[in-house]
Structures are given as structure tokens and as C-alpha cells.
Amino acid sequence: MITAERKPMEEIMGYVEPCQRILLVGCNECVTVCAAGGRKEVGLLSSALQMAFMKSGKVLQVKELTLERQCDPEYVEELVREIDGVDAVLSMACGCGVQEIARRFRDKPVFPAVNTSFMGASERQGVWAERCQGCGNCVLGLTGGICPIARCSKRLLNGPCGGSTGGKCEISPDVDCAWHLIWERMKALGMEKSYEQVMPARDWRTSRDGGPRKIVREDLAL
């Protein structure tokens, strides 16, 4: 899932400060699951913004709406009914959702209310951690199901650096050394041999370095 966090109130306030009416749009997918931009967060932010405005002697009208998925045009189309008369749209979806609204409604400013963080998994209630960087060339089959690109601070491909101590990364004792994890897992699987296999330098063109990416399924995209 894509994870996100609400931006500081000050920054959000900066965007909507000149507005009198805004449309606050949540998304019922990833940002709901990571408790950043679902119906509940929309309600909280709406209330917070209105109070912040009232405090400075102004009034902000907020229309709240949470779409099933902000990154699909059909769902975004639902905003047509709500968007007239608002000065701006504030989106609590990930960057994809914000851009989709911006694409559909060219005459309305669209502001993000969350910082899209990473693709991750929930470790437990309320804790999410990065797991994937979308490199476009998955190596998990060689690394015991633990991604060295997303989880090693240096994206090393052939074992840990000298900063790995006691299973932790030198950047913080809270960060596991990905290569330590990979080694432990391979041991458990009896795959120590494959650890010794040297991974050649990667072709990063499948990742961001090759420019913006696109997937086209010819059979579906008629």
C-alpha cells in the first residue's frame, strides 16, 4: 500500500489561506488504510481548518467528500457535482489522487494535504514501514524475500557494508540491516550458497532513472 502522513497544519493553512470555500477530498483506499486520508481524517482536518480560520476571524466553508479511489477518473468524476463555487480542492489522497483531480479540473487549484511517503506494509496497528521502491526489476527471488533496494540504506546488492552491527544499520539503531535479515533468512532456508552468488550491477532504467514509467496492457487498452 501507498502510505502517507498529514502535512503540518501550518503548511496546509498556507495553501488554503486565501480561500473562502474549499472541497476537501479523501480517498477510501491506501490513505484510509494508513489512517492518513480516509473519511475520518477528512472530518478531523475539516474541523481543524474551520477552527483555525475562525480563530483568525475568518470563515472557511468546507465540503467534505471521500471518493472510493482518487486515482481513477471515473471516481474523480463524482466531484463534478460538488466543485462549483469552491475556490480550491484540498486532497488527502496520495500524489496520484492529487494529480488526477488536477488533470480533471484544470481551472481549480488543487493542494495536497498529505505527504505521500512510501510503499509499505503495516508492522502492527499504527506502524507502517517501507518495503518497496518500485524499481521495476524485482530481485526478491534472490534475496530471500527481503528487498535490499528498499530496505538497505545504501541499496547495496552484494551483502552488507561495514556499518552493520548487531543486525542494525549504522544510520539508526531502529533500522534493521537488510543484509543481516537476508542472511538470517537464507540460513533458515538452507540457501547459504546463493548468498555467495554475486549480483551484477543493475540496469536502473526500469526504475525512475529511465524517466516516467507507464504500463500498457494491450489486451485491456482497446
Binding site: 497544519m9 478531523l44 475562525m54 480563530k55 470563515v59 472557511l60 465540503k63 467528500l65 471518493l67
Partner: protein, 148 residues
């Protein structure tokens, strides 16, 4: 005394402990300031962050959530969750300049009628010192419509 600020305070009280303690304060005829208005919830863990925010948005000067003592929650840990949530909302209130100190989490057992009364008095005094909720004295009410 005529101009003394009389805060409006909403107290979310859990059925099993604090609401019972409030009733107990009644049967003990303990007097406390009438500023505190109790809203009964089954467990303090039921109190949503939005309920608290809306209370301030609509002009409450103070809000407190009263649950059972730690370890005593009828629903295991609803009170602990409520406490965390209250901390989260306090930060948000600080961020928007309303002031997190207008919100508190309090715990007590069902038999603590006296503590209920004392808490009600103390909290009312505290909010009296804080002064009115800055959003309510301003002209124009917030208008909002929820479409989904």
C-alpha cells in the same frame, strides 16, 4: 462576579466508571460547578477524535474524556486507547492555536464520587483561567456540508 467567565465544558464519561462516579457524586450530594455537561458513552474508547474536535468547533471551552482507572477498563483497554487519542488531538489543537490544554483525559473508578466532583471543579477552574475558546467569540458560524 457578574462578569466572571463561565466556561462550557463537555465531559465524555464512560458508563461503567466515570458516569457511575458522577452518579455517586450525586448520591453523596457533592457539589461541583454546573459548567460540566456529561455525555454518556459505553467506554471512553468510544470517544472519537472527531467528537472532540467538533465540540471545540461548536464552541466548547473545554473537553475531557473520563474513563476507568488503568487496568480497570470494562473493555480491557478502551481507556488506554482513549488516552492516546486525547494526546493526538491535544497536539492538533496546539497546531491550530486552540490550545491542547483545553482537553484532558482523566481516569477514575466507579466509587470515586469525590474525585469526580473534584475533577469537575479543578477542570472548570483551569478552563476559567484559560479563558474562552478563541473560536466562539468570533462572528459568523462555520458552515459545512458533508456529502460523503
Amino acid at each position: 462576579m457578574a462578569n466572571r467567565f463561565e466556561p462550557v465544558i463537555a465531559a465524555f464519561c464512560c458508563h461503567y466508571c466515570s458516569y457511575t462516579a458522577a452518579d455517586m457524586a450525586g448520591s453523596m450530594r457533592l457539589s461541583y460547578p454546573p459548567n460540566v455537561h456529561i455525555i454518556r458513552v459505553p467506554c471512553s474508547g468510544k470517544v472519537d477524535a472527531i467528537h472532540i474536535m467538533k465540540a471545540f468547533e461548536k464552541g466548547a471551552d473545554g473537553v475531557y474524556v473520563a474513563g476507568c482507572l488503568e487496568g480497570d477498563c470494562h473493555f480491557k483497554n478502551g481507556n488506554v486507547r482513549a488516552g492516546r487519542r486525547v494526546e493526538y488531538v491535544k497536539k492538533l489543537l496546539d497546531e491550530i492555536g486552540i490550545g491542547g490544554e483545553r482537553l484532558e483525559m482523566i481516569t477514575m473508578s466507579a466509587g470515586m464520587g469525590e474525585l469526580f466532583a473534584r475533577t469537575a471543579s479543578d477542570f472548570t477552574e483551569k478552563i476559567r483561567k484559560e479563558g474562552p475558546n478563541p473560536v466562539k467569540s468570533l462572528p459568523g458560524a462555520a458552515v459545512r456540508s458533508a456529502a460523503g
